[in-house]
Amino acid sequence: MRTITPLVFALLLTACSQHPQPSLYQQLGGEPGIAAITDGLLQKIEQDQRIVHHFADTDIARFRRLLAEQLCNISGGPCEYTGGTMQESHTGFNITLAHYDALVENLIDVMQQQQISISAQNQLLALLAPMYKDITYR
């Protein structure tokens, strides 16, 4: 019995590790998936009169890189986020609830277009939603 118990545990552990829960990063499609979300979102922003003015003086290449880094980082991917805090980078923009809603709506549209599962979409929204307090009315 004493020898069997560790064996059973070892088997159980092996069984578990054979079906690991894919990370959110993987569910979003890894690096190409996140690149597609980032590019899709930038295209949406460009066409959205409600918020495009906030990006008038933005270095788009840098913004694109930092957004991809951040999405990768918060979803558990192998990336370092090298940008400033959300609070710092949005100060002076006076981003309102309506602007935030517009961005979230655009992100949802892009994720729907990329056919990301509803569960993965909700996991990502759960990570991004709390940034509201750092981003708006600064």
Binding site: T96, L97, I118, Y132
Partner: protein, 277 residues
């Protein structure tokens, strides 16, 4: 009346441009039978329509509740601003199918969103609301012991969407505490000969958002029991809400209204259509 109203609603919808507010689809809730944004029978802390900060929104709706011995027809409208203020009006016509006759009541509502954001803050969205209810056919309610033909309900609501809760789906929770003197939500008048005090009641809703457009939920509405002539019981319902887009939503459900005016086990259907601009 309802047919004409539905027709008008359809015409408005057909002519409506694509202009809609910035709020995310479904976050304006549906129109409750009292005209306030909510589920079917419970007001929520959400503000009607899709107006986000600094935006205006308007809604119009019609609902019908059909149970064994009664039919309630409602139509109404609301205007909202800044995702903070909501002004609503509703006309209820309660048909006494088995007894004969009908009772009409008007509900004028105002709601103010005090704090929190449904989707974005850790705290729930919290709102306070008033509903001024005026009975238009007070003879029968008076005859069965109601004291007044009008009353003011005051309620506090807290609503929150929790992401990724049930099989990866989002969950909406709502709790409402209401101070009321209304008998059967005012359809049988307000207060009684022996008691004119406010009663505090709890109302709750829970809904799973299967996707961005479809919600499956349940509601519970605690009710006072003031009139001696018949027992009043709590209400409950199960509903499916389909937010087709930011302009049209449809809610269907099953309701259990308990005993009403001596008629027990009043169960049946709930259907509601809302247009939003």
């Amino acid at each position: 009346m309802i047919t004409r109203f539905t027709l008008a609603l359809c015409c408005l919808l057909a002519s409506a441009s694509s202009v809609a507010g910035s709020k995310i689809v479904a976050t304006g809730g549906a129109s409750s039978i009292e005209g306030s944004a909510g589920g079917g029978i419970v007001p929520w802390a959400v503000i009607n329509g899709y107006g986000s900060s600094d935006e205006w929104s308007a809604t119009a709706f019609t609902s019908r509740v059909g149970v064994d011995d009664f039919t309630l027809n409602v139509f109404g409208a609301s205007v909202s601003y800044d995702n903070k203020w909501e002004w609503s009006v509703a006309r209820q016509t309660f048909k006494l199918d088995s007894i004969g006759g009908e009772l009409r009541q008007d509900v004028f509502g105002v709601k103010y969103h005090i704090a929190g954001e449904l989707l974005y803050t850790a705290w729930p969205q919290i709102s306070v609301g008033l509903q001024y209810k005026k009975h238009r056919d007070f003879g029968l309610p008076q005859a069965v012991g109601a004291r007044d033909d009008s009353g003011v309900d005051v309620y506090f609501s807290a609503s929150k969407v929790l992401f990724d809760q049930v099989a990866g789906r989002n969950l909406l929770l709502n709790g409402t505490v209401r101070a009321t003197k209304a008998n059967q939500t005012g359809l049988l008048g307000f207060g009684s000969a022996s008691d004119n005090n406010y009663q505090f009641v709890f109302e709750g809703s829970a809904a799973v958002l299967l996707n961005y457009n479809v919600a499956l939920g349940i509601e519970f509405k605690q009710k006072p029991d003031q009139l001696n002539f018949a027992t009043e019981q709590h209400w409950r319902d199960l509903f499916v809400a389909w937010f087709i887009n930011k302009h049209v939503s449809v809610v269907g459900g099953y309701v259990d209204l308990g005993s009403i005016a001596g008629f027990d086990q009043q169960q049946g259907y709930y259907i509601s259509v809302e247009g939003a601009w």
